[in-house]
């Protein structure tokens, strides 16, 4: 909301610079967004009259004029199309500065010019530079322009919050200033002589739906003329960002900015029989607003009509059929009060937000219409002539009564943490023009001013008023800090922190991607993903909520490889929704995913870098499990997953499949523009960790320390020839089982395939470590154990000991 500092000065007495004022208001009610000084180039400019205007002999577009400035007659060459004999104009004589330019005497195409005739734009009064300013003919020649228009103003732009519609006006801001300085506002002047005839003789108003339109106040000005607004008003509206149009339109806007009451001016003769009917529209009713747009109304829209037709959409915009025209003489001024909910609904469904609707939908002042209408009539008469008919027609069938709200000063003290006495509370509320009655020592009965009618409803609302007038920053910063002793632990934080730390220690970079992604991108990854669809997405790149973290990771990985990265190791921990690619659905799931491509160590100068492969990520996943202190290491099972070449899955009993990973199928990678092998992994972190996230580290828990043997071990190597799809895991399981408690470690240390072995044969060599806690093992103890292991393993069909 743009506020003129000069205007405020007329509405309330105060002693503060614009900067100081902005500061006061920022800490009392409304934040300053911007401040701008408007300087108008009127210093030294005077009123003159064009006595003569002739074509320039050598230039079609220039005129050579003789201008009377009251004290002398000067020759000025002027380029404006509207330059003509008889005009009253603004003149800058040589030596006057207009902006950065000092006017001088010079020759224009050979003709002497001793000054400049100015346009509004050149003086900074408006943006109008279509021609020179045409001043009223009755001005005394030589009058200084700075008596007609303020040479300077400061415009303060405030960010008004939705709960304070009263601050969308100069009087509203003035009231806050008055509260600060403990003074009162000066209501603007509307003292005029009324005609003997009554407005009610010419205008009748009928409200059919008073809940939507509680009040309709009409005023009448006859015999006025439509002319440009006075210079000062044009300048002021311009500095508030408005384009001056004519006196009638400008005055109704001016009064709205002044008093916060939206007004509408109808051409009286376009309102059939001078009769106004306020009613709800019919469903599908068509109406053309004054911007020329056809609007289709609903039965919830309030319409201003005459006996034949709609003439305005209540509180939003007037109609094309009844707006004031250049030849309008008789004006019907509407100053009404409409229900906020009704206007909001209409404005929303029409997609039409106006200065008027903005004020009504937040709650205008129900008591303001008669004052605003009178002020408007007064200004029209003053700046356009005419007669103001006696009285207004004020139709207000169910008058809105002021609200009373009770407040306990003790409650204010309790909530704010400072002592608020009854006297303090009373004094601050009264500064805000509230009427306060002391019911007892700790109970105030407060009458809410009508301009705060829709905002203040409860005790806490009044406490806020008291607090902001006292000043938030006068409340001390308490040093109290109560720990809630029975607060629960934070297992989820522990889990995700451990996951992030482990991944980082494994050399992965954490990434954070948008959870809003393109559906296409998700589907490229796997058609088992079922995403949550966003109804009105920002753009097609963000039209669904992700069901997997991997598509984002693959896009980033692809981009990183393209810009020349040798290897990329990315992970993310984040929420997903919908149905993920292991077919799981739930409300809130926290996934961890990673994607890796390239070498497992970056550039090498003396040896070939190894490429990251399936067994690397298997190791990463095991390390992650260890990092999360999961009791059970993940078990891997080979499965064919649609988008993976080599895959493993793991599952829990309660939740089924909780994670999977492997090498991305090449054609799937190609959809993301990745040509080289990519290893990926994704897990539902909470379901994987399962009940262990609540596991408290207690004595005797599996997370405790266990002793280790200091006796030497007895180590053996065994190699088996294995046929077909017999897994290494199944052989290791047998070895561990048969090895018993003396067997402490089993490690597959060599894999051999190819000649002289048969095509479907592998040689798997295991390193076995035997150790006891209390003695050095002898061969006599270990050898039978090894024999037993050999016996059992070679008992498998297709397995034999390799010599």
């Amino acid at each position: 909301m743009k506020i003129s500092y000069n205007w405020l000065k007329r509405l309330v007495d105060f002693d503060a610079t614009p900067e100081k004022l902005a500061d006061i208001l920022t800490f009392q009610c409304v934040e300053l967004e911007d401040m701008k000084v408007f300087k108008r180039n009127v210093d030294g400019v005077i009123v003159g009259k064009v006595l003569e205007s002739k074509k320039h002999p050598d230039a079609d577009k220039l005129s050579v004029t003789k201008v009377d400035t009251g004290s002398e007659i000067v020759q000025i060459v002027c380029g404006a199309p509207n330059c003509r004999e008889g005009l009253t104009v603004a003149v800058a004589l040589p030596g006057v500065k207009i902006g950065d330019i000092t006017i001088g005497s010079r020759k224009l195409r050979g003709v002497e010019s001793n000054g400049m005739i100015l346009s509004e734009a050149e003086m900074g009064i408006s943006d109008d530079h279509g021609g020179i300013l045409e001043l009223p003919a009755d001005l005394t020649l030589g009058t200084k322009l700075d008596t007609l228009v303020e040479p300077e103003d400061t415009i303060l732009d405030f960010e008004v919050t939705v709960n304070r519609p009263d601050l969308l006006s100069h009087i509203g801001i003035a009231r806050e200033i008055a509260a600060h300085f403990r003074t009162t506002v000066k209501m603007p002047d509307y003292d005029f002589d009324e005609d003997s005839r009554l407005t009610s003789e010419r205008i009748q108003v009928e409200i059919k739906h008073w809940k939507e339109g509680p009040r309709y106040h009409a005023r009448m000005v006859e015999g006025s003329s439509v002319i440009p607004s006075p210079l000062w008003m044009k300048a002021r509206l311009h500095s508030l960002g408005q384009r001056p149009i004519n006196n009638l339109v400008d005055i109704s806007n001016f009064v709205m900015f002044e008093l916060g009451q939206p007004l509408h001016a109808f051409d009286y003769h376009l309102v059939k029989d001078g009769k106004v009917i306020v009613r709800l529209a019919e469903d599908g009713e068509h109406f053309i607003t004054l911007d020329g747009q056809e609007r289709i109304l609903k039965s919830t829209d309030l319409l201003i009509t005459d006996p034949e037709k709609g003439i305005g959409i209540a509180g939003v915009m007037g109609g094309e059929n009844s707006e004031v025209k250049d030849n309008t003489t008789d004006v019907l001024i509407e100053a009404a009060h409409f229900n906020p909910v009704s206007i909001r609904r209409t404005s929303k469904h029409l997609g039409l937000s106006t200065e008027a609707s903005r004020r009504f939908e937040r709650g205008a002042d129900p008591s303001m219409p008669p004052i605003a209408a009178a002020r408007c009539a007064y200004l029209i008469q003053k700046h356009g002539g005419g007669r103001i008919l006696a009285g207004g027609v004020d139709t207000y069938p169910h008058a809105i009564r002021p609200k009373y709200v009770e407040m306990r000063p003790s409650r204010a003290s309790h909530l704010l943490g400072i002592n608020v006495s009854s006297d303090t509370a009373k004094e601050t509320l009264e500064a805000l023009t509230m009427r306060v009655e002391e019911k007892n020592a700790d109970l105030l009965k407060v009458q809410v001013p009508m301009f705060r009618h829709y905002d203040i409803e409860r005790e806490v609302d009044l406490i806020e008023e008291v607090a902001r007038i006292i000043g938030y920053n006068k409340v001390p910063d308490a040093q109290r800090s109560n720990v809630v002793l029975d607060s629960p632990g934070m297992p989820l934080e522990d889990l995700t922190d451990a996951a992030v730390d482990t991944m980082v220690s494994l050399g992965f970079r954490e990434s954070v991607h948008s959870a809003m992604v393109s559906r296409e991108d998700q589907e490229k990854f796997s058609d088992t993903l079922k995403v949550e669809v966003i109804s009105q997405p920002l753009n097609p790149e963000m039209n669904v909520y992700r069901a997997s973290l991997l598509p984002n990771l693959l896009n980033t990985l692809s981009r990183e490889l393209n810009r020349g990265a040798d290897s990329v190791r990315l992970f993310e921990v984040g929420q997903v929704g919908g149905v993920d690619w292991f077919g799981q659905k739930a409300d809130q799931r926290i996934h961890l995913a990673f994607a890796v491509a390239g070498a497992y160590s970056p550039t090498e100068f003396d040896r070939k870098p190894g490429l990251y492969d399936f067994y690397d990520i298997k190791g990463d996943v095991e390390a992650l499990a260890a990092g999360l202190s999961l009791d059970k290491a993940p078990t891997f099972e080979y499965d064919v997953v649609d988008n993976l070449q080599l895959s493993f899955v793991f599952s829990t009993k309660e939740h089924g499949r909780t994670g999977q990973g492997g090498i991305l199928r090449q054609d799937v990678g190609a959809r993301y523009g990745i040509e080289q092998p990519v290893c990926i992994f994704e897990v539902d972190l909470i379901r994987w960790a399962g009940d262990q996230i609540d596991d408290v580290k207690r004595p005797g828990s599996p997370h405790g320390y266990s002793t280790f043997s200091r006796f030497p071990s007895n180590e053996r190597d065994l190699a088996f020839l294995v046929e077909g799809q017999i897994s290494a895991q199944s052989i290791e399981d047998i070895i561990r089982k048969e090895g018993g408690e003396l067997l402490r470690d089993v490690e597959l240390f060599d894999l051999f395939q190819g000649k002289p072995l048969a095509k479907n044969q592998r040689s798997l060599a295991y390193h076995l470590v035997f150790r006891a806690d209390d003695r050095t093992l002898t061969d006599e103890e270990v050898t039978p154990c090894v024999k037993k292991i050999i016996g059992r393993v070679t008992g498998l069909d297709g397995v034999q000991l390799r010599g």
Partner: protein, 341 residues
């Protein structure tokens, strides 16, 4: 001192001096011949023992043996040093190292951890909630009127299933108050979503932290003290805060919080746009209607809540000038946060 002992002492000093000058296998060999060779000074000295007076002989032998041991030891060391300096065994240690992948935590996580650390020290518990929310938790229970513009699809992203992407972390407040009785002292970090066009300072997804404290006798003054302490811990002891009136549906009174610029200390600089202050977030006393919606008696309990943006904090802390960098995950951005905890 007998002159023979004097002589021996001189030999030893001379040896030490000569040893200092050894810098190649040639000079080392000369040293060996001069002192340790078959005709070297040490061998010659041994021959002299027989001709010495008996009372000097003992001391001379002792000193000579010590000298010999010293010379041998020094020779071995020098031999090693000279060998290492030879071309054959020289290693160019200035060749690049074998680089390790050092992983990195995302800056948003780093800052969020810092925030969590400060608040957990103050006795807050960290809570999380779903990013996909219902209108009850995101709006109704937070006293957001039906007409409030924040409910509009131009602000809030709704899903086809009738749910929405939460616009604040405030619904976590509701979820906690629905299931826990006061005293409640929590913070809730998490991602939130708005229908905002991305630019250097706006992102349709960003990260908030919400704080909530509900108990008997919790005051606006407590809110101010806690928020001030938080920023002091984040930016240093000299930081000041100021509170400005504002409007949020879920708090009354409501305030916006400014922090004195941690870069210039409040005197005005580029980062605070010469104002000396930086706007950090919203706060206020929990609105009685919010308490009513979760069945907490607003006469008995009072509470405060605040919210702030992690991105904004991270941009300040690291001097990042474009919010989009956080979600691009460019390696050249992420690698700068390696090694930080």
């Amino acid at each position: 001192m007998h002159e023979s002992l004097e002589e021996l002492k001189n030999y030893r000093e001379q040896f030490d001096h000569d040893a200092e000058t050894v810098d190649s296998s040639d000079t080392l060999e000369s040293l060996r011949i001069k002192y340790l060779g078959r005709k070297g000074l040490i061998a010659q000295s041994f021959k002299k023992i027989g001709g010495l007076p008996p009372d000097v002989r003992g001391q001379f032998g002792k000193d000579l043996n010590a000298f010999k041991a010293h010379a041998n030891e020094r020779f071995d060391t020098l031999q090693n040093t000279v060998a290492q300096k030879s071309d054959e065994s020289w290693i160019d240690v200035t060749m690049p190292s074998r680089k390790r992948f050092t992983g990195s935590i995302h800056p948003l996580t780093l800052v969020e951890r810092e925030v969590r650390k400060v608040f957990t020290r103050m006795g807050f518990t960290v809570m999380r909630g779903p990013e996909i929310e219902d209108t009850w938790h995101n709006f109704d229970a937070l006293n957001t009127p039906d007409w409030h513009p924040s409910r509009d699809p131009s602000d809030t992203l709704y899903l086809d299933n009738g749910l929405l992407l939460r616009t604040e972390t405030s619904p976590v407040q509701i979820r906690v108050m629905e299931t826990q009785k006061p005293p409640i002292r929590i913070i809730a970090p998490g991602r939130v979503f708005r229908n905002d066009k991305p630019d250097a300072t706006h992102s349709p997804m960003f990260t908030q932290v919400e704080g909530l404290y509900v108990d008997e006798g919790v005051t606006f003054s407590d809110l101010k003290g806690t928020v001030l302490e938080f920023y002091r811990q984040m930016f240093g002891k000299n930081v000041r805060t100021r509170f400005r009136p504002h409007f949020f549906p879920f708090t009354e009174p409501s305030a916006e919080v400014d922090v004195s610029c941690p870069f210039c200390g409040g005197s005005g600089c580029r980062i605070c746009k010469q104002s000396g202050w930086i706007e950090m977030g919203g706060s206020g006393m929990v609105d009685p209607n919010v308490f009513k919606s979760v069945g907490i008696d607003p006469e008995k309990y009072t509470g405060w809540a605040f919210g702030l943006g992690i991105e904004r904090l991270a941009m300040l802390v690291y001097g990042i000038n474009d919010i989009r960098l956080f979600y691009e995950n460019d390696g050249r951005f992420l690698e700068q946060f390696g090694g930080r905890r």
